[in-house]
Amino acid sequence: MKHLDEYRDPALILRQVEAIRGACTRRWTLMEVCGGQTHAILRHGLDELLSDSVELLHGPGCPVCVTPAETLDQAVLLTRRPEVMLCTFGDMLRVPGALGDLNAARAAGGDVRVIYSPLDAVALAREHPKREVVLLAVGFETTAPAAAIAVLQAEALGLTNLSLLVSHSLVPPAMEALLTDPDSRIQGFLAAGHVCTVEGAAAYQAIAERFHVPIVVTGFEPVDLLAGIHACVEQLDRGEARVENRYGRVARDDGNAAAQDAVWRVFQPVEREWRGMGRLPASGLGLRPEYAHFDALKRFDLSGTASEGDSPCIAGKVLRGLSRPTDCPAFGRECTPDTPLGAPMVSSEGACAAYLHYRGET
């Protein structure tokens, strides 16, 4: 299939692996930030092919995984209101909060709709003027523009029955938090190419300089990933720490101005809780004051959410790259995709799900 097979060509992959081996004077430790990259690495076995030359740590770039339990509980509380139709992405339905997951809320009679785009929520609000449609808006820089456009459309249509429970997060502040951690072993980053298609590569410049780490903007197919890894280890061997774009066929250095414009018209940076990482300053998006009437937290009283209880789950350490999924005592035992204790076992981008799915390790 065109635009796919050439980036999965086995012969080319094996040549790239050899080139990376040849370029490594020692074994380097890199982190791929995005959960989509984690899955591609495991699906195509790049971790195994590179095991003697590069250690790949899996980062917190799965938006489902870092959505705080409090937000999930707020969503569950919303589903208990008969007027509310809660819309979100399919992956969110099985993530456990203190009040259970949204699948259970749906089984208990809540109206939970799986959508493919935030604009579906606008359409549902128009179709059901007597219902309160709430969009549980999660995701990184890549998803935020669509949520912003949903708000702008709803405003233009004069819709008063749509609101957002916003849990959008921004990747660069999380990368800074990871590097500030004294236990960090990260020597170089593969930055998520799709984030850069929106925000551009320049957003990473300050991090590369401040922490002296190479940051290589990388794609999601095996050939793209290996090109990113190769560039990263070459920088490390030369003692460089630059932002380098190896996903130029998709990501531009200055990003997508129209998408950025929509995001910053509707949202502003706010402090955000990251599941497993704590509260990080300016790491999330919140509605700007002029769009505060779309804020579900202001429209509904959602107090009474509980905090997380005790659990053997080490999702926090996995999300920070400090532990591997297989280090967790619950991995593959109490915690499976059917009975997830933590979000990384649920999401199609979670590291624990990737290990179980592709390596079948328990």
């Binding site: 796919l4 995005c34 076995g45 992405f89 992956d91 969110m92 099985r94 499976t336 199609s348 390596r359």
Partner: protein, 334 residues
């Protein structure tokens, strides 16, 4: 003119029910009211009988490449074929929702008839119930099937042996993606047609040619992975798939890439997997390719000794385990 629709009284056992049966259902099936009202009495051809039942609740009722009527025949006929049976008879249980347009019912029944005729099976008994509007989803169908197993045939998932070659009768994963695309209005052009079809003729050809088939499975819900995992668990074999050889149509692959799905987790409704001794693999493929429903048959892997598991061997030499999906397939979000 108002559209004729199914009413509750159509299931009430009175005059309207008799009218529905005599004027809609029986003519559509090409059947006359059977002599015995409560049970069909049938002459058996001798030998062992295979029997199965399956219920069909697909939504939408009509989809590219098929509809619930064809599916209800093919699904049950294929289950019989997987036991090595020659399918003979079907029952047809209809649960109709009040308000269903009679034209839709006629369309479904015409499909049942056409599919049954193609498969050479007879609908010998049936039942119709009507539920209130909002308490069903247009049409649910149950079909039970009976077939006869030729002497000397013993097909069993536990009979897979190390060294066996694994065959797929055609491209995999198509039905699930076709339904998903139709249901979610993904707007793929041209639409992906379901592979809904009877595989009984292909199985019969294999058996008539004397291929010593060890095991057969039709990869329906859960896709090829679920079927292979069952074979692995039953036989204790490690099943290793050659990733490059797995037949998936480009449009199905593309849709799966977009949706974040694995084609091996997606259902087929006109395909089967077979385990045959290594020395019989080429002959089995030649036989299969001579039957219209299996012209795309290929070898996809091999059974090996070891822990029971399904393994995908990538072209780079890396082996990745393939596991069952947790439940409903989840689309990716970023």
């Amino acid at each position: 003119m108002t559209t004729e629709v199914v009413r509750l009284a159509h299931g009430g056992g009175g005059r309207l029910q008799a009218k529905l049966l005599d004027e809609v259902i029986l003519p559509a099936l090409g059947a006359r009211a059977l002599g015995a009202p409560d049970a069909a009495v049938l002459d058996t051809p001798g030998g062992r009988l295979a029997m199965t039942t399956d219920s069909f609740v697909v939504r939408p009722l009509f989809f590219p490449g098929g509809d619930i009527g064809r599916l209800a025949v093919h699904g049950t006929v294929n289950d019989l074929a997987m036991a090595g049976a020659h399918p003979l008879w079907l029952t047809l249980g209809l649960i109709l929702e009040e308000g269903l347009p009679l034209d839709d019912l006629r369309r479904v029944l015409a499909s049942v008839r056409a599919a049954a005729d193609e498969c050479g099976v007879r609908v010998v008994a049936g039942d119709t119930k009507v539920v209130e509007a909002g308490h069903g989803d247009e049409v649910y169908i149950n079909t039970s099937g009976v077939g006869v197993v030729p002497d000397g045939i013993c097909i069993d998932p536990a009979a897979v042996r190390p060294g066996d070659v694994l065959l797929a009768s055609g491209d995999l994963g198509r039905h699930g993606v076709a339904i998903l695309a139709a249901r979610e209005h993904l707007g793929l052009e041209p639409a992906i047609p379901s592979d809904s079809a009877s595989v009984a003729a292909a199985v019969a050809a294999l058996l008539e040619a004397g291929v010593p088939v060890h095991a057969l499975r039709d990869p329906t819900r859960g896709g090829a992975v679920a079927a292979l995992q069952e074979l692995a668990d039953a036989s204790g074999c490690r099943l290793v798939l050659d990733d490059a050889a797995i037949p998936v149509r480009d449009d199905v692959r593309g849709a799966c890439e977009i949706l974040g799905l694995d084609p091996l987790h997606s259902a087929c409704e006109g395909r089967f997997l077979a385990a045959v001794p290594a020395g019989d693999g080429d002959r089995a493929l030649a036989v299969l390719r001579s039957v219209p429903v299996a012209t795309g048959a290929v070898a996809i892997g091999r059974a090996e000794p070891g822990e029971p598991a399904v393994i995908r061997r990538l072209a780079t030499g890396v082996e990745r385990r393939v596991i069952l999906p947790a439940g409903e397939q989840l689309p990716r979000i970023c």
